[in-house]
């Protein structure tokens, strides 16, 4: 990795109250790359994304994002940092009382002094990039799930962020919408010269798309590398996850006493 990392996580531990979620995580997000963080539901990957977004601060360790240690920043510092990032939420999180146009224009109106004509041109440019210029006057309730996700993507790149964070961008989409979002993630990242972090458990769409992958389990990084490297890694968890095997390091059965004992058959011949 010749380029310096845009985000560095060092010995990161995070807990919700007394409930530990992340344990001693070390990872780098290389500048200009599309990086995936994959793992089962509840493994801590979304929490890790929120730490990178400085929405959560480490309980122990350090998160350095865009050259800033997040735990050293005050409110103004955090907001200045976030103006250099974009985030796509799992279900879009569009503002339901605004049109598609106003959603994409929101940050421009809040953070710039651009005249309304310039904002209009920029918003149409962003919507054109996601193929939804014609949907500008619609309300979010009038959009399909895939369209809402694309509008949210246009909103996330409204101010040309250096770092774009994606929280489960492929969840709940039909195959066409899923393919469109996957292609847009890659194309927009390359066009903007940005860096992307994708948190997901969608193996089929993600591995062909990304440059680097971290696999997480139980709040720890268990494997990492390029998609080809992790496929060959031989780590049992990764193999089960990639192949979707029903049993393996992640067992099919939730821990319980013996089946016979539950049925009252213990001790019978």
């Amino acid at each position: 990795m010749a380029d310096p990392a845009i985000a560095q996580i060092e010995d990161l531990t995070f807990a919700y109250g007394r409930q530990p979620v992340l344990h001693g995580i070390d990872l780098d997000i290389p500048r200009g790359k599309v990086v995936a963080v994959m793992g089962q539901s509840g493994c801590g990957k979304t929490t890790l994304l929120r730490v990178i977004a400085a929405a959560l601060l480490p309980t122990r360790g350090r998160a350095r994002v865009l050259g800033q240690v997040t735990s050293d920043l005050d409110r103004d510092g955090l907001y200045a940092l976030r103006r250099r990032m974009g985030m796509l939420y799992q279900f879009g999180a569009l503002f339901t009382d605004m049109t598609v146009f106003d959603n994409v224009a929101f940050q421009m109106r809040e953070h710039t002094n651009l005249p309304e004509d310039a904002i209009r041109d920029l918003v149409l440019l962003k919507l054109e990039a996601v193929g939804l210029r014609g949907a500008a006057p619609l309300m979010p309730a009038e959009l399909s799930g895939g369209m809402a996700r694309r509008v949210a993507l246009a909103r996330a790149i409204a101010l040309d962020p250096e770092l774009i964070l994606y929280d489960e961008p492929f969840t709940g989409l039909d195959p066409i919408a899923l393919g469109v979002i996957a292609r847009l993630v890659r194309q927009l990242n390359d066009a903007l010269g940005a860096t992307a972090v994708i948190v997901t458990h969608d193996v089929a769409e993600t591995l062909p798309l990304v440059d680097y992958v971290y696999f997480m389990a139980d709040g720890r990084v268990v494997a990492q590398g390029t998609p080809a490297e992790v496929r060959r890694s031989g780590v049992p968890f990764v193999e089960q996850f990639v192949s979707g095997a029903i049993d393996g390091p992640v067992p099919f059965h939730y821990p319980a006493q013996g089946y016979g004992a539950d049925l009252g058959l213990a001790g019978r011949a």
Binding site: Y79, R82, A93, F95, T96, Q107, H111
Partner: protein, 261 residues
């Protein structure tokens, strides 16, 4: 017994903690209210949603309350041969008490619950988180305009409620029953004092506006981000606001109208 005491203690501690959190939230809200006034269009929009859209229920309720006051008041006053004092009874009842209190209760049910549900749903659908991630403070951008919209709307709604109630009393007393119109209005004009009655009523409605708006935005902002959580928060807004209005009304009435009134 010990478990009951522990449970009771935990409830009291949680209640005190939440009260402290609400106080801190109120302080933060006041400090970050500049946006609500610098971009007053945001607040005007909320005045429309909280105030203008509550007009129908306020005006209709005011009319019926005034009409009932006219009927009940006449029935009592005519026994003592003082039916001309009907205008005074209707006006003082409305301006001092019923206007601010009933308008406040209706405002809590109609607008307070809507504010809580809207903010709670914005939280549940991650709209507030998204705003925070865009470096826009949701308290300044979403909460403060709704709070000040409510504070500004409430006294205006209470005034309209009272005016409509007096008109209802007039309809029943003068038009329907036949109380002397001149006596109805002139006695009212003589007896109702601007400072003692109207101003104190306005002060009450402003206090109720602060209380209901604060409870509504706080419950929405603090709602558990699920359908059930938003539903509970909305219910809490109506219940807490109603109790707060009645309790505050007693305290304010005790301070305003005792000794010489």
């Amino acid at each position: 017994m010990r478990a009951t005491l522990t449970h009771l203690g935990a409830m009291v501690t949680a209640g005190v903690w939440r009260l402290g959190y609400a106080a801190r939230f109120f302080g933060y809200l006041l400090v970050h209210s500049a946006t609500a006034f610098r971009r007053f269009g945001l607040t005007v929009r909320e005045i429309y949603f909280a105030g203008v859209l509550s007009l129908i229920i306020i005006l209709v309720s005011g009319l019926f309350v005034g009409m009932v006051l006219g009927l009940q008041g006449y029935d009592t006053l005519q026994r003592y041969g003082s039916s001309e004092a009907l205008g005074v009874l209707v006006a003082l009842s409305l301006v001092r008490e019923l206007g601010p209190v009933v308008a406040g209760l209706l405002f809590a049910s109609r607008a307070g619950s809507a504010i809580t549900a809207e903010i709670g749903l914005m939280k549940a659908t991650e709209q507030l988180s998204a705003m925070e991630m865009m470096a826009v403070d949701p308290v300044a951008r979403v909460v403060a305009p709704r709070f000040w919209g409510g504070v500004i709307s409430m006294p205006l709604l209470a005034a309209l409620f009272s005016a409509m109630g007096i008109f209802g009393g007039y309809l029943v007393g003068v038009v329907l029953i036949g109380v002397d119109e001149g006596a109805f209005w002139s006695q009212m004009q003589d007896a109702v004092d601007v400072r003692e009655d109207i101003l104190n009523g306005v002060i009450k409605s402003v206090v109720f506006g602060f209380a209901v708006s604060l409870i509504a935005v706080f419950e929405g902002f603090d709602a558990t981000p699920t359908a059930e959580g938003v539903s509970r928060a909305t219910t809490r807004t109506v219940v807490t606001s109603s109790l707060a209005i009645l309790a505050l009304d007693f305290v304010l009435t005790a301070l305003m109208f005792t000794g010489g009134n």
